[in-house]
Symmetry: C2
């Protein structure tokens, strides 16, 4: 069948079709398409023209099979619908597409099992690299070890795992927490509660530590009664606040592990007619767009989400070019963003 016929029937056009039409071999076509210098200018031109005319699309699958590279980066995040994660992904995509990579995005939905499944899927999809923020349930990291074993670049961000050595991009959670708690103290807060994330996750530990150390620096005793293990969701912020209120624990500030939780806290306090920041100041972590929607606007620690994605993808590119035995650990700075929800002075 002629290339003309195949084209009209919407059949895939392959190297062979072009080769036959031009009476050259498929190797020549293949080389011409890559602008290989050893092919005559005439031939190269003719091949390109025909390819264009018949809208030749190289079969990426076949190419991958040979080259053992899919030009694909896998990304696993807990939940896509968090602004932080989707912004990180935008950063990843930005550098990935420029470098000719496509991105496969998967969600673990905060489920360990789902995470194992998608990591297996991505492994057999032969991604060239994997960028991950682990689910809150994850403790066992065996499913990631396989990527390292096969020398597939593996980069963790935000939620760094314990017990596995690899590349990572994170922010200085400790310092961010320290600064924001210190800010609360400067505002005159003395009984500052902390709603933590799941404590198997390093960032939750680090923020907790920053909280504790800031208190200690200012000679405020660390009181375990003021530390509530919470989570990352708005609903958990709501339930934890309700618990705190029924516990009748007296506090003058709440430092939530992240903005969604802080939003939950504020909604609950407002519902109970507790004045923010007058009665209780509230601060979060992330700088979600919602932080400027709630009234009063939320004081928080801004994370450079887009840059985190960029950094992660950059590490991937470095590792894929010259896979070194050493790992890159990048720690970005946070930015204390003061708004009304914590301002008790000068009002």
């Amino acid at each position: 069948m002629s290339i003309e016929d195949r084209y009209k029937l919407n059949k895939e056009i392959t190297l062979i079709d072009i080769a036959n039409e031009l009476n050259v071999s498929k190797s020549t076509v293949s080389r011409a398409l890559q602008n290989h210098h050893s092919i005559g200018a005439e031939t190269t031109k003719a091949v390109h023209e025909l390819a264009k005319k018949y809208n030749y699309q190289p079969n990426a699958i076949a190419s991958s099979l040979f080259k053992k590279s899919t030009k694909t980066i896998g990304v696993i995040v807990p939940i896509l619908s968090h602004y932080f994660f989707s912004t990180v992904i935008a950063g990843i995509e930005d550098v990935a597409y420029k470098a000719g990579y496509k991105v496969i995005i998967c969600q673990s939905h905060e489920l360990y099992e789902r995470e194992v499944i998608v990591s297996k899927t991505l492994l057999s999809a032969k991604v060239d690299g994997l960028i991950v923020s682990v689910s809150k349930e994850t403790v066992n990291m065996d499913h990631f070890q396989q990527f390292l074993d096969k020398n597939i670049p593996l980069i963790f961000f935000d939620r760094l795992p314990t017990g596995i050595q690899s590349n990572s991009v994170s922010v200085d959670d400790y310092e961010g927490a320290f600064k924001i708690v210190e800010h609360l103290i400067e505002q005159g807060c003395k009984r500052i509660a902390h709603f933590t994330g799941p404590l198997n996750i390093a960032l939750a530990q680090n923020r907790l530590q920053g909280y504790k150390d800031a208190l200690r620096k200012h000679h405020i005793p660390v009181n375990d009664e003021l530390i509530y293990e919470c989570g990352f969701e708005r609903t958990q912020g709501i339930t934890t606040t309700e618990k705190l209120l029924t516990d009748q624990v007296s506090v003058d500030a709440i430092f939530a592990v992240c903005d969604p939780v802080a939003i939950g806290v504020m909604l609950t306090l407002k519902q109970k007619s507790i004045k923010i920041p007058h009665d209780i100041a509230v601060v979060g972590f992330n700088d979600d767009p919602t932080a400027t929607v709630i009234d009063p606007p939320l004081t928080t620690v801004a994370q450079p989400a887009f840059e985190i994605g960029v950094a992660a993808a950059d590490i991937f590119l470095k590792q894929v070019i010259g896979p070194s035995r050493s790992y890159i650990k990048e720690v970005l700075k946070t930015n204390l963003t003061i708004r009304q929800s914590s301002l008790r002075k000068n009002r």
Copy 2:
């Protein structure tokens, strides 16, 4: 090299390795792995055990090349960080994974050019289907036509294109708009402004039409001065409100094309100390999580985002099994969600 050796060196284990070890042919192994009935129970068991022992991962690329199916669905959305889109994706993933498909997600970032690029990428990645919400810039649909030409199921959702026949999932935008504007009228609003989306997009047209018809039904003249072409972003809601205020146009309600815009409207009105809903009522469309964060809470039209994703993926599955010549057009119901931002009576 023995399978043992290859395993230790973290080399890929293939069918051949297992076949050699068991002194059978690779076809037998291939069949055993698929639990083909014609293979002896003994052999099948032995193969599975060895596969497990050496952590055999089938090479999906090689399989795809032969089967001409990648078991992958491509998804293109304008922006991942909108709650609506990430929730639709969650719905798509849910049914896709259950049916053994993986999902590649791409963003167009509301750019026509980017949309063309990613659709080409997905085409050459040989996705088995494509689910799309088009960018606001997109008018030319040629890049999607290729999928139809190759009989690759194509499903549009939310932002339906014009000038291309295909499957689609949408909500009854007209009815949703009609209901919410009628609600405003019932609340005593007489001068209701509408901030539209880009009018090349059908849903923006439909919501506009619903707005107009609701007014007409209640004998309120449609006034073009009250119709502002806006967009889908919070920032556009802010600038459009500012324009309306400097225009000194008198209104008692604003119907925004979507919640992010409505949020921008409210933030601006609040900043100018205009009371919501007393001076101006505000309503949106989507039911973003932010709708319950802003004060007063936002009246809006809830869209079943997750179900939209489910419906789109279901259509894909139907089309992939028996690709029919007829297209499926599914229209889901919306749900008027009344909150404080529009309640002028009974207060």
